[in-house]
């Protein structure tokens, strides 16, 4: 049952034919884990808290740095040096005091990830590196947790909604991590805040659809976003027969931690 305050707070989504009371109740009971409270994680967390997700787990080992502020919209200049999980919690509590925030000021690794993910209904990948993405996606596959994968760099973004046993998995697209030292990341090639904002908002939207069952999720499709040309593209995507994770003869049977060095920007 929603109380009177909640009916007012969520009134704009309650009056939506496609959303409504039942979806709101599901949302209030749901538990979502957001890994990364940075460029993608900020909008994801903000919108999910505002919409009334019951419990939000926030994983981030990092502290707020000045170069984060151009895109990580949960963190303010006054927060420099604070743990991102603390800064995020403060803002989210102010947006919606109803939401329970669980903080994990650590890196996910093969020893802690299962215990943390096990507590949640849906996982949102908002990290900034490939080793963590492979670890999270493998773990969600083994634990049968829906995973909303979003990533961005430069002016580009990509989005996938992965439902274990139903849709292709992350490794059906990216069977193995990129070669050591070749792939650029945000810190070396840069990123526009609007790109992480766009992808993060879409991840939050996909999460509430997975939780409530409304609409059609992106499952089985890949969305790519080119912010410079302003193009969204949808790529048809199927399970890979010889996928190392979900294929007929999987080679990845337990969690693995990759070490990949990023390409460093060279100034000429």
């Amino acid at each position: 049952m929603l109380d009177q305050n909640q009916v007012l707070r969520y009134s704009r989504q309650l009056i939506l034919n496609e959303f409504g009371y039942e979806a709101q109740e599901k949302l209030l009971k749901s538990k979502v884990l957001v890994v990364g409270a940075g460029g993608l994680g900020s909008p994801v967390l903000y919108y999910l808290a505002a919409a009334g997700v019951g419990t939000l787990g926030v994983v981030d080992f990092d502290v707020v740095g000045i170069s984060n502020l151009q895109r990580q919209v949960l963190h303010f200049t006054d927060d420099l040096g604070r743990k991102k999980v603390d800064s995020a919690e403060e803002k989210l509590k102010k947006v919606n005091p109803d939401v329970k925030i669980v903080k994990y000021p650590c890196r996910l690794n093969i020893d802690n990830i299962e215990e943390i993910i096990g507590e949640y209904d849906v996982v949102i990948d908002a990290v900034d590196n490939f080793p963590a993405r492979f670890l999270i996606s493998d773990c969600c596959y083994f634990m049968k947790k829906p995973l909303i994968e979003g990533a961005s760099v430069g002016f580009d973004g990509i989005l996938m909604t992965i439902i274990p046993g139903v849709t292709p998995c992350y490794r059906c697209l990216y069977p193995m991590p990129p070669q050591d030292g070749v792939v650029p990341t945000c810190s070396d090639t840069g990123i526009m805040g609007m790109i992480t904002g766009t992808i993060g908002s879409l991840q939050a939207l996909e999460a509430i659809k997975v939780i409530t069952g409304i609409g059609e999720t992106l499952s089985g499709r890949i969305l790519t976003f080119d912010g410079l040309g302003l193009n969204f593209r949808e790529i048809k995507w199927s399970k890979k027969k010889n996928c190392p994770l979900c294929g007929e003869n999987p080679t990845v049977k337990e969690l693995v931690e990759y070490e990949i060095k990023c390409k460093l920007k060279t100034f000429e």
Binding site: G150, I158, P184, K240, N242
Partner: protein, 66 residues
């Protein structure tokens, strides 16, 4: 022959391989994955897979940042 690459039609020489197409487009193979007719072939085979008329290709960058 005509191919569809990331949704756009492109005219290329007959007998071109996936690797050849990437080279022609100036794309470093290790920065992307390629979907060929809705399947993701092994990277090791890109040099052997000859493209055919009206093949569908999606060249997807490795994007991992956030």
């Amino acid at each position: 022959m005509k191919l569809k690459v990331n949704g756009k039609e492109e005219l290329v020489d007959d007998g071109l391989t996936i690797l050849g197409l990437l080279e022609k487009k100036g794309i470093k193979p290790m920065l992307v994955v390629v979907e060929h007719n809705f399947e993701v072939p092994e990277r090791e085979n890109w040099g052997n897979i000859k493209l055919a008329e009206s093949d569908n290709l999606e060249i997807v960058k490795f994007i991992g940042g956030g």
